[in-house]
Amino acid sequence: MFFFTYLARELRRRQRQAVFIALGLAVGVGLVITVTAASAGVKNAQSGVLKGLYGVGTDVTVTGAAPSNSQVKPGSPSALGSGNRVSIMMGPNGAQMCVNGKCRSLKDGYTIDTLASSSYAPMNEKAASEIAALHGVASAAGGLLLTDNKTTISQNPSPPTSFSVDGTDIGKPRLGPLSDAVTKTGRTFTSADATRNVAVVDANYATSNGLKTGGTITIGGTKFTIIGTVAQPEGSNPPNVYIPLARAQSLAEQGPAGGSLKNDVNTVYVTAASAADIPAVQNEIAKLLPTATITTPSSLASEVTGSVSSAAKLADDLGKWLSILVLIAAFAVAVLLTMLAVSRRVREFGTLKALGWRGRRIIAQVMGESFVLGLLGAAIGVGLGFAGAAVINAIAPNLSATLTQSTGEHIMTPNGPLSPTSSHTVSVPLVASVSGAAILAAVVLAVAGGLLAGVFGSWRIGRLRPADALSKVG
């Protein structure tokens, strides 16, 4: 009781100084919370972009190495056929299509529609079950990321068109790009669709191409019935069309090489048992599939460019160091002011020692005052942190995220083969969110700062001889 009365009176007496110390700590803490919130917002924006690529539940993605274009020599026919060895020769007498070596002229308006895995090399679909059996893996599903290319033979040539197709393992709906999608119209896949020519179309792609549930879409020369449309999270870069994996395997071929993809996948989506298991799982997969590319969300994040990437770097580098510097400054101010305050009270503490107060009791009194200032600083700092996050949300411009991916096309030019890439830039809102962990850390920091100030302030007092303390003027 006396402890608290004395403590409260002392803080009230030194109100201005107490407020100054608490505000110093609060600014430091508030900045830490704001930077943490901004950093979390940037990370959320990043993960929003990444989620759309590989699905929300995927921790590790395994893809076959990208096929080499060196197999296709300049001036040689491109391999665009489906199933058979098909090649197109562009010559002075018009287009010629050669199927297994037998060539014929193509009529104007003839459309070649192929479904190919041009971005990734195939792996046997057993890879998914082998990965699923690894220690630390919760589940794994195979998929085929494909590109449908349409080329129309014409006297007035128009550029080929393409769209992306995802062969989805519909038995594992919680993994892969479709896992994070929200059904907008119709329905998504059921187990009965495994071998049917049915497709789910991305809602944005459907809108821009006039596709509707109940309509059809031609993929790899085969008509698929659209059973639904889905929307992916804002900022993601989802496939345009989803079809059952089995149908994708039977229709697709491996890009320039032209081989069949039956029983193959080119992507395996893996969920680790826990976040801590991800590095070990990554290593295990690398041993199992030495040539495969293994991607974790953190490694994928480095491939995202644009302001979201700059913001992440800014939050990680400048924000972190700025917070640390401000915190150190706040701690130093708190320590110096507390030492100053204590030095003015040396005679008072000497009197208490003369009354029989132990050094420990006096130190506890000073520490108590510092602790309360730390708590006050934490409370104000949390408020400042929320305010800072609100200001960021109010004024921060949307972040842009640019994902550069292969289109899956392989075009022959007189100078050699080209594998065009497409850059997909999305605008991602930055939502700074204050987490409970950040608040807890901030409170701990502020209290630690206060106690540190108390320790420095009271250390000398505890050791001072009463006669010396009483002889101090003040």
Binding site: F2, Y6, E10, R13, R347, E348, G356, R465, P466, L470
Partner: protein
């Protein structure tokens, strides 16, 4: 009560050594009032600090009720100050943020008494110095004389055997000085205290049973 034999105190200030008290032989009996006078800087306050266990002698032996203060551990000295010795200072040394009652209560904190017992003793102590109606006032709201009364109540609330007063009237006018010395004399008799009072004021010193004179760290007695 006190037995001092060859007590000396040397301070080191930088490279210099200052002999503040030198070869003091002194006996103070139970219930005696000893006044010590002398010029500033001749060791009066240093001797009082030694008697009050606020400092240790560098030479000689200082016994309080047979216990050698120079050989006691810090914790024992702290305990001794808490239970046996009361102090009154020239500048009152009240905690400015605490009320009169709380300042008096501060002397009872080391004794670990319950709140009710503390309150009862505080009320009695303030009553004995005539400040019951000022118990909730802060030091800044009290006159110099009233502040010294609070300091006397604080010194006596724990019922010590010894009261040590260092220039207790040094900051007071003549009328208040007489009032305070009168009060101290009354309480000395009432509580059967051993009182050692340092002052350079002849009017104050004259009221003591015995007067010692400090000069260059040594003590002699007036006859």
């Amino acid at each position: 009560m006190y037995e001092l034999t060859g007590v000396g105190k040397t301070y080191a200030t930088g490279s210099q050594r200052v002999l503040a008290v030198s070869g003091v032989d002194l006996s103070v009996g139970d219930g005696e009032w000893l006044a010590i006078r002398g010029r500033t800087g001749h060791g009066k306050s240093t001797l009082l600090n030694l008697l009050g266990a606020l400092d240790r002698p560098t030479t000689g032996q200082l016994l309080l009720d047979g216990r050698d203060l120079g050989r006691m551990r810090d914790a024992e000295l702290t305990r001794l100050r808490a239970t046996t010795i009361g102090f009154v200072f020239q500048t009152f040394n009240l905690v400015p943020t605490l009320s009169a009652a709380e300042n008096v209560e501060a002397a009872l904190i080391p004794l670990r008494l319950g709140l009710a017992a503390r309150r009862r003793k505080v009320a009695a102590a303030l009553d004995s110095v005539g400040l019951t109606d000022r118990s909730r006032h802060l030091p800044s709201e009290l006159s110099g004389g009233q502040q010294q009364r609070v300091a006397i109540a604080r010194a006596l609330v724990k019922e010590p055997k010894v009261l040590l007063a260092d220039e207790p009237t040094g900051n007071l006018d003549e009328e208040t000085r007489d009032e305070i010395i009168g009060l101290m004399e009354k309480l000395w008799r009432e509580y059967q205290l051993t009182l050692v009072l340092v002052s350079h004021d002849g009017a104050v010193v004259r009221r003591a049973q015995r007067v010692g004179v400090m000069s260059r760290g040594s003590i002699s007695f007036e006859t």
